[in-house]
Subunit: 698 residues, 2 copies
């Protein structure tokens, strides 16, 4: 970076602002440091950009072109300059992008940038073109459209990521995801500064890569749904243009159904094998005791190492149950001969053989927790699905790792759960040297319960908040502010073609075979899909099951229910005196209570909504109870224990899930009825504890 004295000066002034808590605007992730001025800088049709420095690569030119397209689309400005690089003098709104060098798409590359917007112009400076791309996204998030027109604020930002590995895992095996799904999600990733696409290409349910070395893999184990080599290259190039690495995963030696459907001669058990259509952990496992396995993998990895540019190849390694190994006398004999204690030791042997192959082809290995063992070379990276503790353990032993536990977005947890989950909390027991081995994390979009139509709504906008956790300083943790910004960013993400907002009304139209879906949207505000792995427990799903029901249209994190919960919390805190919260809580409860009637005709005539009817009735019931509590609270009446017990019983019954969705407005209503009967129950906590938690419902 040039102009070092200026940088230092700027950093000093910013640190003062940071101590006061700098404003977050609509930025997500929040930059490392920023200082906001008072002025607004107008963007007009004369806006233009010039690119300077050795980092003025095709990648950066492409990024500036896309930025201008989005700027024009969002503002509806007709730029004078279609060829944006012919800077017509440096007009007030001109932007100068300076990149020091072409960045490398490698772990730890410099992604920092400095964005300075003043009435004298807009300067984006970065050590690499990749850093400049990150800054362009920040610039677009700063764009404001309001009564003052199209503006950006006067601002000085210095920004850099907290962690170097910030990933999203896309599972293309369980449900195949078409090329355009991957591309639009790469655009979404770039918009929130994620830099690794971890591509889960193989699992029991399908092998998704064309392979010249072993063509039966894609021919027999994909139902014809695989990426051609040209498509893979296209996607890698697309990602590279956005400064995103692509790490392919070939899950071995468990999750073997697809592998062995194509090449049963590599199996640990006789077979026959076929593509798995259900979800779970299955027995098919590659045989690690025969040389044919390693010849096979050598040829495959030779091809894949050439096809995929990235330094890393992910070998999976998870959830091998060892059953087929222990059932095979030859494998048992092999273990005995080698003196192995059991399958774990045999898998270690397998991993070492695979590692040797990867090393031969110039690749580093990454795998899930299970691959970890002390003897491994220190350049192997561990991805932890088990938890922070196992990550810390390997960091202590000198291994780098990334965290995925807590970022399983397929489990339909609310955003704040993920957001507050820090790969390296302030109170971590690690030494600075050990802490430096925590490389970051990855959100994981496992694809059992998503289709190309619904998957964006499971990734976005929640992954924007996870991206902030990986990029922004750890102090940025305000939930209300996060939700406010995420709601804005969600709209901005739409311009990239992401379907997370726009497919929902379409899905509702299909469910009711009608156009007016307003009442269904009200219901959606109060329900969420069942969490964790309950969906599959409640109803058997296969790869062919429809993912077009309310459970699929529902938000993972229903905004209206969240607003309701917060308003109830504040209302109780104010002792029911806050008029605004009272009004909000009351009108929400009325809308929910009356929704059953509004949906009457729709539910009666829509077979695809039949299983939702009890949810609608339960919502009306629970809302009516909430309204009763409000009446008590606002008329200075109070309830007795019998009243309370009956209400709690009915609320508890309303928790029962139907159609794989659950009501998520019960807890605040419980709080309401408890609050109005505090005279008869000991404490609010004691009141809540009266409920019997209902874990599972069939």
């Amino acid at each position: 970076m040039k102009n070092v004295p200026f940088v230092i000066c700027l950093v000093l002034s910013i640190q003062v602002a940071a101590a006061e808590g700098p404003p977050t605007l609509n930025l997500m992730p929040v930059p490392a440091q920023l200082e906001l001025g008072d002025a607004s800088i107008k963007i007009g049709p004369e806006f233009s950009v010039t690119i300077e420095g050795e980092g003025g690569t095709p990648r950066l030119h492409g990024g500036v072109g896309r930025m201008l397209r989005r700027l024009s689309d969002r503002s509806a400005l007709f730029f004078d300059n279609s060829t944006f690089l012919q800077l017509k003098g440096r007009s007030m709104a001109a932007m100068v992008v300076t990149a020091g060098r072409a960045g490398e798409l490698a772990l730890g590359e410099d992604e920092s940038y400095r964005l300075t917007i003043t009435s004298d112009g807009i300067a984006l400076q970065a050590a690499t073109d990749i850093g400049a791309l990150r800054g362009l996204e920040t610039f677009l998030q700063l764009l404001t459209l309001d009564e003052n027109g199209v503006t950006v604020p006067e601002i000085a930002i210095f920004d850099q990521p907290r962690f170097p590995w910030r990933g999203l895992m896309i599972d293309s095996s369980r449900h195949f995801m078409p090329v355009e799904m991957v591309k639009r999600n790469l655009d979404g990733m770039a918009a929130v500064k994620l830099n690794v696409l971890h591509w889960h290409l193989v699992d029991d349910q399908g092998f998704r890569v064309e392979t010249l070395a072993w063509p039966k893999l894609h021919e027999l184990a994909s139902d014809g749904n695989y990426y051609t080599r040209a498509q893979i290259r296209d996607i890698i190039d697309y990602a590279a243009e956005r400064g995103i690495r692509v790490v392919p995963e070939f899950d071995l030696p468990g999750h073997g159904s697809a592998w062995l459907t194509a090449y049963p001669e590599l199996a640990s058990a006789p077979g026959p094998y076929e593509i798995e259509r259900s979800w779970g952990i299955f027995d098919p496992t590659i045989n690690p005791t025969i040389e044919k396995t390693y010849e096979f993998l050598d040829a495959l990895m030779a091809e894949m190492a050439e096809l995929f540019d990235d330094e890393f190849i992910h070998i999976g390694g998870d959830e091998n149950n060892g059953k087929h190994w222990l059932a095979n006398p030859e494998i048992v004999a092999f273990m005995d001969e080698k003196g192995y204690e059991g399958p774990l030791t045999l898998q270690r042997y397998f991993n070492e053989r695979v590692l040797a192959i990867l090393t031969k082809y110039g690749k580093r290995m990454i795998g899930w927790d299970e691959i970890f063992e002390e003897g491994l070379p220190k350049n192997v990276v561990i991805q932890s699905w088990r938890g922070r503790e196992s990550l810390f353990e390997s960091a202590r032993l000198g291994y780098s790792g990334i965290l995925s536990n807590g970022y399983y977005i397929d489990l339909i947890h609310p955003t704040d759960d993920h957001y507050l989950n820090d790969p390296l909390p302030a109170d971590s027991p690690l030494t600075p040297e050990e802490a430096a081995r925590i490389l970051g994390g990855e959100a994981t979009m496992w694809a059992e319960y998503v289709s190309p139509e619904t998957v964006d709504s499971r990734i976005w906008p929640r992954t924007a908040a996870i991206a902030e956790r990986f990029w922004s300083p750890s102090r940025v943790r305000d939930l209300e502010d996060m939700y406010r910004r995420m709601d804005r960013i969600s709209l901005m993400l739409e311009e990239l073609g992401l379907q997370h907002e726009r497919n929902r009304p379409m899905m509702l139209r299909r469910l009711c075979q009608c156009r007016d879906v307003a009442a269904l949207e009200v219901l959606l505000g109060a329900i969420e899909p069942v969490k964790v792995y309950n969906r599959g427990r409640l109803r058997k799903h296969t790869q062919f099951s429809p993912l077009t029901r309310m459970a699929d249209a529902a938000w993972p994190d229903a905004g209206p229910a969240r607003d309701f919960r917060w308003a109830v919390e504040r209302l109780i805190e104010s002792d029911f005196m806050d008029e605004e919260d009272l009004g909000a809580v009351e009108s929400t409860l009325i809308a929910w209570r009356d929704n059953r009637g509004a949906l009457e005709e729709t539910l009666r005539t829509s077979p695809a909504l039949a299983d939702i009817e009890p949810m609608s009735s339960a919502l009306a019931e629970a809302s009516a109870i909430g309204l009763e509590a409000l009446v008590l609270a606002t008329t200075d009446s109070s309830a007795n224990k019998d009243w309370l017990d009956l209400r709690l019983e009915r609320l508890n019954a309303a928790r029962k899930s139907h159609g794989q969705v659950e009501l998520v407005m019960i807890d605040p209503v419980v709080d309401l009825v408890c609050a109005v009967t505090l005279p008869v129950s000991m404490t609010a906590e004691g009141c809540r504890e009266q409920e019997t938690p209902v874990v599972e419902h069939h």
Copy 2:
């Protein structure tokens, strides 16, 4: 077809029904013949399909698989049989698909089918697998979800197309359309039984095909936005799986900017050339007098003839203004030497040379009107953009042709204009032999004013009505029934991934940078984009201009305005006595009048909506006048000529377009004010004529 006696019997019984006007259900296109029974047949989880006959091709298997996916997605049914072909006995809801042979993807192939649904089972029989695919689409349109569950009606359908060439032209040159846009539109085409994708791949604004023979075409003349050969093949295969031919167009010798940007040595004028960024007719033209041109085209067509399977290659041939030819002394000398009268004759020479090349590579030629000349071989096909008369003229001379005039969906005409435009009206002067040369027609999606985000909304649902014109008997012309069915089909088209409905609210959210777009949607109900070529006249657009404004979000054919117009017509006919229509007209006018206030804040704070403010004010003004008229009508008052003149003047002022949209509710309001002042004006017609028509507004 087997079972001929049964077919005859069925046809007889159906003709009786046809004379009575068979019901159209939600079918679009309406089948040639159908007979509806009384029963409903339930579709349950045990539903399964078996495929029989020599036409049980991979294409048909794929089609059945997609049908089952859509059936499951729409009904939310979990089928017992994921592997649908293992027919578990012939249960009540089992479907047997019988196809006689593999169809050929060629002009005139048999696409007929017979679909019989009774309580004994569902039989789909077709001569070819392509015909069976058409029948599967009909089956999906028959699916009913209501209080009786998931059913199809008892029915007997015999269906076949009226015309063998039923096309949609997609212009990928002016705005590049990504692969997924083409694919989802192929699905839409298949759903309404269109069978030709005419792919406009070259124009002044870009050359969109990778070419090995002349790589500078895609390298220098596409901005990097072109289809690779693999992508072209992928799309051709995708189309073929749906029984759709792909006819590529290489527009020659005019529209030459892209060609000559890459290979200026083929130009008629010195150049330099660059990719054209604006819209219109431009001068760059290929030089037809040099042999290099034909060597170039020979190599190109050799490659393209191999890449594209279809029998036809489209050579464009339109809108060559001849300027560069007449300005080039060598070309003029060539014409003199050959004794040519002018550019038209020279283009004829060029066409004949190109025809020889196409013939050499086994292809038939198709081109726009301008290529027509009497000496041409009779196997050349003419596509008429000029009109039915020129099509009939060539038919009389023995040439086959298709009609596109009247199907220019880019001109934003309402659906009924296209729908009532018949390639071969009942009163056509052609002999049966000549009439047989009218092969069909094509809707043309020229891409000056569409982006990948908006293009679906310009194609759909209007093209479904055009498809009906090409497929269904000419007697099917009821507009109200057409609009009713089109509205249903539009929702079904959504399940194919088409964006025509779902992108609109997204575009409104972007315009207001807000979530509540209800008031903007009300405004959208009263406006449409300006028609014909006025958009470009009103504001200069280039390839880089944003297509994200209200003019782009607006329906080409605003349903609420149409409903309003019809209600006003009926209301006046009833002498203001029909209470239902009166209520509808009044409530619509009130909503429109009050919309200005509802939009106040949004318009004030949204710079991208600034140019729409006058439209909102004009809507309020015109609606208030309509309400005045209603008061007069319903209070048995009457107005005088001064009142009328002032109202007509104000309504006329409200016609002024802003932001490239226009109010489409003025005419009915004029009718209202005229109707209530009939005592003072001679006739309703005379009243309307008082207006000065306003043709253009800047």
